[in-house]
């Protein structure tokens, strides 16, 4: 016997897929999935049809062929007979170099400008405001081109260093040459080298690691480790006896002395640039294109970082500053000990996205002829081989990987410093 209050046993009807909220979300998802796959299939099908019509099936074999072009700014050895893959790898390294350099200088400049903008010196604060507005409101591509033009026009050409009536001269005791082809700085050389280890043989990804560099890094790391142990020993003594032994000279010595001895044994010395033939020879040559890109990206991004820093500092309530002042801290100590550490929490998330922007903007290297990955893989390689689809897909994959890696690392750091809320 059934009672009237029993709900009727519902059988499944097709209309329930739309009207019943239990099933509706499922329906929507399936429809969305289906639509998405349909779209993807349509695109892929079009692509295959079109590529077949052009007679260019998707294949990555071109990466193994000789690149036939030269790259000036390079971290690894490379000749024009190397493969497109190696050219792309060098481009990737160049991208990473300029991005890393840019992030560092942009941060330093940005913090400095952000703090100075809040300075109680009227004229300095105004100059910083003008700087920020000027750089934020003009496209970065224009800045890159302008900085490059400035470097080319404003700095002396190597030929002006030549002869008795030279109009330009090297600076810092004849060790650094600033020319409109780039900056030549002294390089480290070893007169008793240990040789190199070649990894990955002769493949396109090969690279050499210099043994003396490894040795120096190891010695330095070991020195730091021992120094840390001495520090902990000092801490323990302080905890037990209440008195801290004076160990700073020990800590310094264990790092510096072994490092100095090993350097001397390896014959570490500086190689200075000198004008020879058409150019300066010797030393490390930072090309103009690298400097222009680095400088422009740093100056541009610094304007954004300055605003972030300013907002972060202003977000700290005035009471914090006043309380620190009441404790007797001087203004610069208040800034570095009380305000900045707290402001950092507000600053970091937007800072991450600015680092990402800088990395992506480094793809504009093409405008000044800096051979980053857009210039090699997405530029000359794509152009000479005619493999647009493959090149651009690879290029996007590379940038996506870089971006996601930066996000992951920075988010991890952000989580670490984030205030634990109650």
């Amino acid at each position: 016997m059934t009672t009237l209050t029993d709900p009727p046993k519902e059988s499944f009807r097709l209309s329930m897929l739309i009207y019943d909220t239990r099933y509706r979300s499922m329906t929507i998802q399936v429809v969305a999935m289906f639509g998405f796959m349909l779209l993807a299939a349509w695109l892929i099908n079009n692509t295959i049809t079109n590529l077949n019509a052009l007679g260019k099936p998707v294949e990555f074999g071109f990466l193994g062929e000789p690149a036939s072009y030269d790259i000036n700014q390079r971290l690894l050895d490379y000749t024009s007979r190397d493969t497109h893959l190696r050219a792309s790898l060098l481009g990737l390294l160049n991208t990473l170099v300029v991005a890393a350099l840019g992030c560092i200088t942009a941060t330093i400049l940005g913090v400095l400008i952000g703090v100075l903008r809040l300075s109680n010196n009227w004229i300095v604060a105004r100059i910083m405001t003008v700087y920020i507005e000027m750089f934020r409101n003009v496209p970065v591509l224009l800045w890159i081109v302008l900085v490059m033009a400035f470097l080319i026009e404003g700095l002396p050409a190597p030929r002006e260093f030549r002869g008795d009536d030279a109009t330009a001269s090297m600076i810092l005791n004849e060790t650094v040459a600033i020319t409109n082809r780039g900056v030549y700085v002294p390089e480290f050389l070893f007169s008793r080298p240990l040789g190199d280890i070649s990894l990955l043989g002769t493949s396109s990804l090969r690279f050499d690691v210099s043994l003396e560099l490894i040795v120096l890094v190891l010695v330095f790391a070991a020195g730091l480790y021992v120094s840390g142990r001495i520090g902990r020993y000092a801490d323990r003594t302080q905890e037990q006896t209440g008195e801290r032994p004076v160990v700073w000279y020990w800590r310094l010595a264990v790092v510096v002395i072994p490092f100095a001895i090993v350097s001397w044994m390896l014959g570490l010395h500086l190689g200075y640039p000198a004008l020879k033939g058409f150019n300066f020879q010797g030393g490390t040559h930072l090309r103009n294109s690298l400097i222009a890109l680095w400088l422009a990206l740093s100056l541009y991004t610094a304007a954004f970082i300055a605003e972030i820093v300013r907002a972060g500092i202003l977000a700290i309530s005035k009471g914090q500053t006043e309380a620190a002042g009441a404790l007797g801290l001087r203004p610069n100590r208040i800034m570095s000990l009380v305000v900045l550490p707290q402001a950092l929490r507000v600053i970091i998330p937007p800072l991450i996205s600015n680092y990402l922007n800088l990395t992506k903007n480094s793809s504009l290297a093409i405008a000044v002829g800096y051979m980053d990955i857009t210039g090699t893989l997405g530029g000359i390689t794509m152009n000479q081989t005619g493999r647009e689809l493959e090149s651009i897909l690879l290029l996007m994959a590379v940038y996506l990987t870089i971006s996601l890696s930066i996000s992951v690392v920075m988010n991890w750091y952000n989580n670490k410093v984030k205030l634990v809320e109650r």
């Binding site: 692509t47 079109n50 857009t374 996601l404």
Partner: protein, 436 residues
Amino acid sequence: MAEKSFVRMEMLPEQAPPASSVGVIGWVRANLFSSWFNSILTVISIYFIWRVLAGILPWVFLSVWDADSLAGCREVIAANWPGAESAEHACWAVINERWLQLLYGFYPPELYWRPNLAIILLFVALAPVLFADRVPRKLLYVTMVYPFLMPWLLWGGTIWGPLMAAAGFVIGFYVIKILSDEIGALSAMIVGVLATVTWWLGAGPAVADALSGTLPIGIEAVESRKFGGFMLSVLIGVVAIGVSLPIGIVLALGRQSDLLIVKGICVGFIEFIRGVPLITLLFVASTLLNIFLPPGTNFDIILRVMIMVTLFAAAYMAEVIRGGLAALPKGQYEGADSLGLDYWQSQRLIIMPQALKISIPGIVSTFIGIFKDTTLVSIIGLLDPLGLANAIRADAAWNGVYWELFAFIALLFFVFCFSMSRYSMYLERKLQTDHR
């Protein structure tokens, strides 16, 4: 006993503050020379400003405005300032000759009123959105018509095309309105969208063709290849922001939603676009987009660039709107639910109006960013201001000019972006007082 009081019974007369803390001197002391460090900073700054101005001002103002080539400029400079290097004086004659081209590209000069009108109408259309409290609500009609009017003004041609495109929306709207009572909101919406798309792909163009055959109302057509200069930058920026707004809203809602697959697709799209540089997307526009579409499809490079920039803007827009959604108090969502509104009703009536209002400053700064990024199209060969600068420098008469062109372009961008960023700051302040 006489009482002696050591309490002062009357106030001393007020003394004037020391001369060193009022007036100009006081201000200077407080703001420029409050400590020795500040004094050094001030002196360095003044020296710096003097150096910069001494370098730039003579170049800007002791310059040549009338010449027909760079060589002509050099002659005038040699005549007016004997002994001066030609690089010490600007040759603004190139701007004098080419400024219209830098602004409008190759748009026919007799039709300049059309882009001008389009930009004036843009402000009229935006007014009810941006200054909701000061302008009549009736202007919203202009806002609704503008998306169809603007392309017609710029590209010209028959009026029936945009009208039929608008008709698609009207059809979709009425289908949804009529059917939603019959078969429910969701299915009505699906049918409505399908009806709109069918109209656009099938009947609409046919009707437009037929009507323009019988009733040829139209204005002179201008091909998008004629677009260039600053107008192209503004156009790409405005179209990208305008179109990316609805897409961005959908993506933001998708990213917030509980539906796993929908969320996955939206997150994937947003993160992909935000993870790659715009220049790679422009490479796609210039080399690959035609390969992705059915064989034989071919629309011109400016449309392709607009599509890719729009997708790019949509991902950033989605994040801005997501920020707006996240800033809304949870009570608003719960309040909407408790009123018995369904998802779309609550979004349309409660959530979106507030979230969009909060997002306006973010939207404006996204627009500034996109607008600045439009200069990248010069790398794929479009003649935006930077691209035109290269083309002008390839003219035999002006070969060798660059500072003047770049300074002019930078100034244009600066004026445009600076005024917008000021507006966005004003909005931010206004919205803040609303919420506190």
